[in-house]
Amino acid sequence: MLRVCLKGANSAARKCLCGNGVPLHPLQQCRSYTSGGSGSSAGKIVAASVLTMGGGVGGTILYANWDPKFRANVEKSIPYSDQVFGLALGPAAPPPVINKPRKVEPVQISSMSEVWKDSKQPKAKEVQRKAEQPDAEGPPAPAPQETLEEASAQVAQILSAIGEVPSVPAPGTHEAEAVPPPAALKGVPAAAAKCTECEHEPAVKERPEGEVAARLAEQDKAEQDLLTSLSSNLEDALGSTAKVTLQAIGAQEAALQAIAQHTRQLREAMEAEAPPDKKSTQWRVLEDALSERSRSVDEAGAAVLKAKAELDKLRGVIDGAKHLKIAAARPSILAAEENLHSMVVDLDSVVTRVQTAQSEAKIVSQYSELVNEAKAQFQKELNSITPEIQANWKGLRKLTQDDLNSLIAHAHRRIDQLNRELAEQRVREQIHIDSALEQQKLEDKKALEVAISTALEHNREQMRLEQEKKVEETREVMEAEMRTQLRRQAAAHTDHLRDVLKVQEQELRSEAEEILNSSLMEKETEYRRLTQDQLDSFTLDMNAAYARLKGMEEAIDSHVIAEEEARKAHQLWLSVEALNYTLKTAALNDPTEPLEGAVQAIKESCAEDEFAQALATALPSESLSRGVYSEASLRARFYTIRQLARRVALIDETRNSLYQYFLSYLQAMLLFEKAQEAPPAKLSAEDLDTFKLLSYAAYSLEHGDLELAAKLVNQLKGESRRVAQDWLKEARLTLETKQVVSLLSAYANAVGLGTTMAP
């Protein structure tokens, strides 16, 4: 928005400036204007060029869309144009693949194609020509023999080549490509003409060996088909040709007849001096005969043409059949050729007859023509004399006398003239005769030559046919012989094969039996081994299982035993614990419960354990019956004992009077010793003092050592001893019991530990 305003302001300013013509920055403004002006023209140029370019490109694209060749050209010449075209028009249509199947065909060739060409071309030409050329049949006769084989090989090659990729894409020739060889298989008549074009192909293609059999089979089948088609074609052609030829012959005969008749009639008409009406009828009849003759001649001519065409066609068919070189067709071909030949011969003979008749007729007609001419001349003269009269013999009756006279005069004149001519003629007769003879000779010669040539041709044809027939026969014979030989050979071969096969069968059988036996044995041993293995493994497993079972049983038993032991140990331990517990039941000043029950329990729990029994019995009876005092009670009791023992410290056996008592009491009151003193490891003599002993004992008691205290107290002498006697006994009892119990518990623990099953 701001920018727009700024722009607007700028432009306004500029405009204003420029409008005012204030030369603030005139040059620049002017420059801008001028540049704008020049810019506008430059812009125009630019626009125009852009338009042109666009137009050119668009036009190119459009035309490329319409003409793919142009498009291809452009794509070839201009790089990246194909992308542009692709963008604009889409991908180009692929070029039509027509050339491929055509190109397949160029592959099949034989090296003898040249020979074949040479041999084929005259034949082709001969085929194409309407005239019969027996010579051309000569050289191709041996050649077709070879070319038949070649053709079959070629056919096979064709067949093989079609199925394979052409290794050499030959430069395709124009019409050759237009005629794919399969046409040769179908259109036999066309084959002859078209096979001439097959020659142009280049190299030979080798057939793969593996396909030979297939190819042969195919070839046979093709041959069979060809044969059938050929024979049918031949038959058809023969039939049609025969028909047509017969027709032609018939027509010719009819023509002959007509000609003869006409001639006769003409001669009759010429020579006979019949009365005018009969003459007219005669002439009419003659005319009819003439017309008849012409018609029949035409018909005959047409029929001959047709027959000739048919014959040519037949020949073409035969040639085509020959080209295909199917051996089996040869007799039929030969027969067809023979038929052809005979037809040709007949036709020729008939034609010659017709020609002779025609020549005769020509003579007669010439004669008649002459006569007619004379008559016409006469008529003309007559007409010139008498123009009113119609030149018609029949109108003679209407003639006037003058006319008659003039006519007669004319007639006389004519007679004179004719007589003169006759005389002249008689004179020139010889010359004329000679010339006529010469002419005749020439014509005869010509006719002779023609006849000779035709006869020669026919003969040649005949001989060729005979030769072919002979060849055919010999071939058949040879083939039969070969067949027999081959059969023999085949028989021998089969015999040999049979023998060999038998031998081989034997060998193979024995081998197979051997193999079978060996494999059988192998399998049997394998089986045995396997079963043995299985058995062994099973036995092993069984043994293992049994052992394991046994082990398990033992383990269980041992477990049971161990558990029993453990139970016992546990019980022992429990009872010992019970004993321990009973020991703890001592009240402060009362003894424990009598240990008897616990000990009894112990005794019961470890009936088999001698050690435990011994220990159990080792307990002092007082503990059993009465229980023992606890250490605490003994400790507490010790202090009274100590007090008393101190008071009677002086009293012993020697000093035991009352006064001593008093003194000991006094001593006790006045003597202060340590309450507790650690006893030394060894007691010396002076340690045996009562007070010291008592302090030692107190110390050891305070430190929980009842045993030591008891020992120390045991060292008291005299009255102190007597005073501490009970305490000592009790201490001894307690100590004893405790010892036994600790032993028992230790033993129970040991036993428990021993019987505990380690995890």
Partner: protein
């Protein structure tokens, strides 16, 4: 309890001495009254005799465990 023995002995001693002293006193008094015209000497004598007897009894009692006693076996 062996420790209580001494106490017991002393108790007996005291009891005995009390008895003896009493008896002695009593006899003394009696004798003094009866026979010796209330002189105090028989009381003192009686007391003394009682005390002495008590003392001796107590002493014997206290000595008793130390006395070696013969076990008179009947030799027959």
């Amino acid at each position: 309890m062996s420790e209580k023995e001494l106490g017991k002995k002393l108790d007996r001693c005291l009891a005995d001495s009390a008895v003896k002293l009493g008896a002695g006193l009593g006899l003394g008094i009696v004798f003094s009254v009866v026979f010796f015209k209330r002189h105090t000497w028989p009381v003192a004598f009686g007391l003394g005799m009682g005390l002495g007897m008590a003392y001796t009894n107590c002493q014997n009692d206290l000595r008793a465990p130390y006395l070696i006693q013969r076990n008179i076996k009947m030799a027959s």
